[in-house]
């Protein structure tokens, strides 16, 4: 079975903001909120690193468990989605998320207190429904991954992602040993 996941290779991230903009472009996320943002830590010192924070589509998604109105659900392929029409804006999913992914778009008119979070580029910010009332979902093709300048952000089928990361880590380990 296909399960989708993200993985951040923090050794590669350079905080260029490409994911932030690519996400906005793809999902038409308005000014004032974002589905992914790069956090800078240990700024200005050795050990400075950058981490792109977004919805990581947890296997046991705490947001899904926390939501009191069942607005959040998990697809079979592991992508965690939410229905903005059901959301009552209690903000509890935001508290439950260890990555702080669900956010209030406080500065966006009409959406101030409707939660929004990353959807693996499946549902844009402004969700649309078909005649049957189902949310129109695109194929999972996360732009933060394909547009990542240094290929720091990996995303896709779990085994593929881990394999790429494993190879990189192994290569680094090998070369460091040879280097020593």
């Amino acid at each position: 079975m296909v399960i989708y996941k993200f993985l951040d290779d923090v050794d590669r991230c350079i905080d260029c903001g490409g994911c932030f903009v690519a996400c906005k472009e793809r999902n038409q996320v308005p000014v004032g909120t974002s589905r992914i943002s790069v956090q800078r830590i240990n700024e200005g010192k050795p050990g400075e690193r950058y981490v792109a924070m977004s919805c990581m589509h947890c296997t046991h998604a705490p947001c899904e468990q926390a939501c009191p109105v069942k607005a959040i659900w998990k697809r079979e392929d592991g992508i965690v989605l939410m229905d903005k029409d059901k959301c009552i804006g209690c903000g509890y999913c935001g508290w439950a998320c260890p990555f702080g992914a669900p956010k209030y778009p406080h500065d966006v008119p009409n959406y101030q207190v409707i939660m929004d979070k990353g959807t693996f580029c499946v549902i844009p910010f402004d969700q649309q429904k078909d005649a049957a009332g189902n949310i129109i979902q695109a194929a999972p093709d996360p732009r933060c991954v394909s547009f990542c300048a240094t290929k720091a952000r990996l995303g896709g089928e779990t085994n593929e992602v881990t394999e790429i990361y494993r190879q990189r880590a192994a290569g680094k380990l090998m070369s460091r040993q040879v280097g020593v």
Partner: protein
């Protein structure tokens, strides 16, 4: 999309209704300033014209090349019914593999931005008035003709742009030549002119020797004066792959940059002391016998002269000058030696200095001494700034060169007259005089002096009266106060830009400004050259929006008007229907650098993008390298991805150092090496480059010899003021004792037509540190590009980086009363003051800079010394976020050879606003 048969006349045909709708949304929800970032609920789906409105071409995907930095990333533009509706990653592009930084990813938003200039405008009585294209061009041509008849051809200044395609840069340079002036220049002057000077004089060509992909093969990456993570984000993809493969990273920089965060060794050095640091490293290398004697003997001249200088720069001496501990210098030298091949990376950090050319010369020397030059994974990586700045440099939109780096000499002039089909005499008659035909013109760095200095003090008979600011961001030029004086004094100021640009708003004058809306790079097609000399074809995504026109079209229309007003022949020299029509001239005239690619070959490469190997950029299917990096000797040649690489056959991109200075060392004022051979082989040097004759090139290729011959690199450059670089303190230095010991250059009576004081300024400011204790250096933010008019006027980038600031150390912050509770941007404003003026900016508290240094990004405009001039922009065109420009306060120092401005070091004081 298919190319239009004839662009002229058809350039404003567009799906206007759609974009009127799009613009209505934009205006309603316009962002205002930093605080009021409001929402923009755009549903693109609704904005696309219904299929019934026009014959639907459906959805198409157009290959295009990003128009920000020079890495040359590809992407697909998604076009629906003629509207640019989205971007798709070009995952098989050999350079970026789909990757884009924030600026690149915002391309669609930038292109269709509401804040663009939509029609020609004119300032009348302090108000901006919309005018027609015809009226605008007519006024410009009339004024130019007037200035010509009263003050001569040199009274017009042509400022160009590295944002234009190769073809357009070429036409603009040609236009200036046909106008009869050398007062033509563009941002390459203040970007990498010293790189060209330093490298070309060392080994023949002034460009990056390898390309970013090849850096995967490097074992040691030495960044000095480059913050690639912010300036060339996608190139980092390859640099980080090298690191994954075990390469060591050394970053030498005054700041702990984002690039430094990946480094194995970080050396924080005092701005402006690159030479002392590099000589210290060379001193350790030679003392330990780590230099490559074989390479030095066979392929260079002047090593002994280097040692004469370098022997005095022991690590301890260097430590005193540079702040870098002697042990770190030893460590760097050892790391460079142990990890072969190493390569050196730089950008503005090295070039923008009074000693810029020497800095670059020394980078090349370091590579020669180590023997890492001229090979894969080694060499000198000059990371260029704009998307086509390598191309615009090749087209020599410069005050001292003709296209393809021909000099202004009679020989060079005659060559181009031949290509252009005009007689030398007729060309001569268009100039002020024969003298002014060969005299270097005003540069971007100090053009304003030609306007405001008394005529008696400048090296041309009359002041500049008309200035064409064609895609140049004037807030990237230092001494903005004097520049503003000039903008106010001109008879006519013409600004051609997709945005109104700060240049329109800076002057306080109420009349005499004309704005022409140029279209962006994605509304036209053309070729662009990456930093690695690869030429890529950028296809047109959409037709020009609103009333904008492509530069290609505007030049031709302006040329026609000039013919009408001046009576000189222009039209027949400036009639092209397609971009491709320019190429026969380029291919004929630019033999020297082997600019002999062909648009059809470039387009074919993009069809076969998957066949290119990402490591080598070689395609087995096409038998050529990506982008046909010049020198590309003929229609079959594969391009030269790595300059001077003698290990390969010339037919597979092999090369060698170019003899540019004759076969032997001539008489020189130093009296050294005279008569020494510059060749390492007896092969007769091909004589080519003048006229159309390619037989010499073919002869060399047939013998598997590079047409540039096999020469020796010059460690000792007899044409330089300092044949071997020596440390010289910057004009404003925090060390009066070192100013005495390492003084700067003697004053120059005329440098590019203006007097250039050096030592007199430095002496007068010897003790400046007492009053202005902090060293100020400047640089880039990853979210913004150049003068920032485009990126600051793009809502997502404005949101991502809304602040102009000065980075200060927490210790300095607490001393001046800025809160240090949190590391990062604060809401407190400070004044940064120098001898030139002051800037009001936010304080950014960080340990990235030390206590003696402060850092400011330079993309900002819209404020002048703390006051906003947003009201002077044409309505609705000001950028979303504005800030004070650091170039108001940067120093008046210039490189001795190229007049590169010194933005990277001056003394300032910072206090709370």
């Amino acid at each position: 999309m298919a190319t239009k048969g004839n662009l002229i006349g058809s350039d404003i045909r567009m799906s206007r209704r759609t974009f009127t709708k799009l613009s209505a949304v934009g205006t309603a929800a316009a962002l205002s300033g930093i605080s009021g970032v409001s929402a923009y609920p755009s549903k693109l789906g609704d904005l696309i014209e219904p299929a019934s409105a026009a014959p639907s071409p459906g959805v198409s995907f157009v290959r295009s090349i990003c128009a920000n930095c020079s890495v040359g990333c590809g992407f697909y533009g998604k076009v629906e019914n003629g509207v640019f509706t989205g971007m798709e990653p070009w995952m098989t592009h050999p350079i970026n593999a789909g990757g884009m930084c924030s600026k690149g990813a915002a391309t669609r938003e930038t292109t269709v931005s509401e804040r663009r200039l939509k029609s020609p405008m004119k300032k009348v009585g302090g108000k901006w008035v919309k005018i027609s294209w015809d009226e605008a061009l007519d006024t410009i041509a009339t004024k130019m003709a007037e200035a010509r008849s009263t003050s001569g051809p040199d009274s017009v200044m042509f400022l160009g742009s590295a944002k234009m395609d190769n073809e357009e840069c070429y036409i603009y340079r040609k236009l200036a030549a046909f106008w009869g002036t050398n007062n033509v220049d563009h941002q390459a002057r203040i970007c990498h002119s010293t790189t060209v000077q330093g490298l070309a004089n060392t080994w023949g060509f002034g460009a990056e020797t390898n390309n970013v992909n090849d850096m995967r093969h490097s074992k040691c990456l030495f960044f000095i004066g480059s913050n690639a993570a912010e300036a060339h984000p996608v190139a980092m993809q390859h640099f980080l792959i090298a690191q994954d493969r075990g390469a060591k990273w050394i970053v030498a920089d005054p700041r702990y940059t984002k690039t430094a965060s990946k480094a194995d060794i970080f050396a924080r050095f005092r701005p402006g002391t690159d030479i002392a640091l590099l000589l210290g490293i060379i001193n350790v290398i030679v003392n330990n016998d780590w230099h490559d004697k074989e390479f030095i003997k066979n392929r260079t001249i002047g090593f002994e002269d280097l040692w004469e200088v370098a022997k005095d720069y022991t690590p301890e001496v260097a430590e005193d000058i540079t702040w870098v501990p002697a042990d770190t210098i030893r460590n760097i030298a050892r790391t460079l030696y142990e990890n072969k091949p190493s390569s050196v990376y730089w950008a503005m950090g090295q070039t923008q200095h009074t000693v810029g050319s020497n800095n670059i010369h020394l980078d090349a020397i370091l590579q020669l001494v180590l023997g890492h030059a001229a090979r894969s994974g080694g060499g000198c990586q000059a990371l260029r700034g704009h998307d086509n700045v390598q191309g615009s440099t090749d087209m020599c939109l410069l005050a001292h060169l003709l296209p393809s780096y021909y000099g202004l000499s009679e020989k060079g002039r005659k060559h181009w007259c031949d290509v252009w089909g005009i007689s030398y005499e007729e060309m001569q008659s268009r100039f002020e005089s024969d003298e002014f035909m060969h005299k270097k013109g005003f540069t971007v760095a100090r053009w304003y002096e030609g306007v405001i200095m008394p005529e008696s003090q400048i090296d041309q008979p009359h002041n500049i009266k008309v200035c064409l600011v064609w895609g140049e961001a004037l807030n990237s030029v230092t001494m903005m106060k004097r520049q503003n004086e000039a903008l106010d004094k001109l008879d006519l100021l013409v600004i051609v830009n997709p945005r109104s640009s700060p240049a329109a708003a800076l002057p306080t004058r109420s009349d005499g400004i004309i704005l022409l809306p140029a279209c962006t790079s994605f509304e036209k097609e053309g070729s662009v050259t990456t930093t690695g000399r690869q030429v890529q074809w950028r296809h047109k995504i959409i037709d020009p929006l609103w009333e904008s026109r492509s530069d290609f079209v505007i030049y031709q229309q302006l040329a026609a008007k000039l013919e009408e007003k001046t009576g000189l022949a222009f039209k027949k020299y400036f009639t092209y229907s397609r971009m491709e029509d320019v190429w026969p001239e380029l291919r004929a005239g630019m033999l020297v650098i082997g600019m002999r690619q062909d648009p059809e070959r470039l387009k074919r490469q993009q069809e076969h993008d998957t066949s290119f190997d990402r490591d080598t950029l070689w395609s087995d299917a096409l038998q050529e390298y990506w982008g046909l990096p010049w020198p590309c000797w003929n229609d079959k040649h594969c391009g030269t991805p790595i300059l001077y690489d003698a290990s390969k056959s010339v037919h597979k991109g092999g090369h060698d150092f170019r003899v540019k200075w004759g076969n032997t060392v001539p008489e020189n004022k130093w009296g050294k090496h005279v008569g020494e051979s510059m060749l390492r082989e007896d092969y007769p040097v091909p004589q080519y480059g003048y006229g159309y004759d390619t037989a010499e090139i073919e002869r060399a290729l047939a013998d598997n010899e590079p047409p540039t011959a096999r020469g020796k690199a010059r460690i000792w450059i007899w044409t330089f003021v300092d044949p071997i670089p020596i440390h010289r303190e910057p004009i404003e230095s925090p060390r009066p004792d070192l100013v005495d010991k390492y003084p700067t250059y003697d004053d120059v009576p005329f440098q590019y037509r203006v007097p250039a004081p050096y030592i007199s300024n430095q002496r007068a400011r010897r003790d400046i540190v007492n009053e202005y204790p902090t060293v100020l250096t400047t640089g880039r933010q990853v979210e913004h590009m150049g003068g920032g008019a485009q990126t600051r006027g793009t809502k997502w980038l404005a949101e991502l980086q809304p602040d102009m600031y000065v980075e200060i150390n927490p210790k300095l912050a607490s001393r001046i009363g800025v809160s240090t509770h949190k590391i990062g941007i604060t809401d407190e404003y400070v004044w940064v003051e120098t001898l030139r003026g002051k800037c009001k900016v936010k304080a950014y508290v960080t340990e990235a800079v030390n206590e003696q240094t402060a850092f400011m990004p330079w993309h900002w405009a819209g404020w002048f010394e703390g006051k906003s001039y947003e009201d002077r922009y044409p309505p609705g065109t000001a950028e979303y976020v504005l800030g004070d420009s650091c170039n108001i306060i940067c120093v008046d120092g210039y490189d001795i050879h190229t007049q590169m401005q010194e933005t990277k070091v001056c003394q300032c004081k910072i206090y709370k606003a």
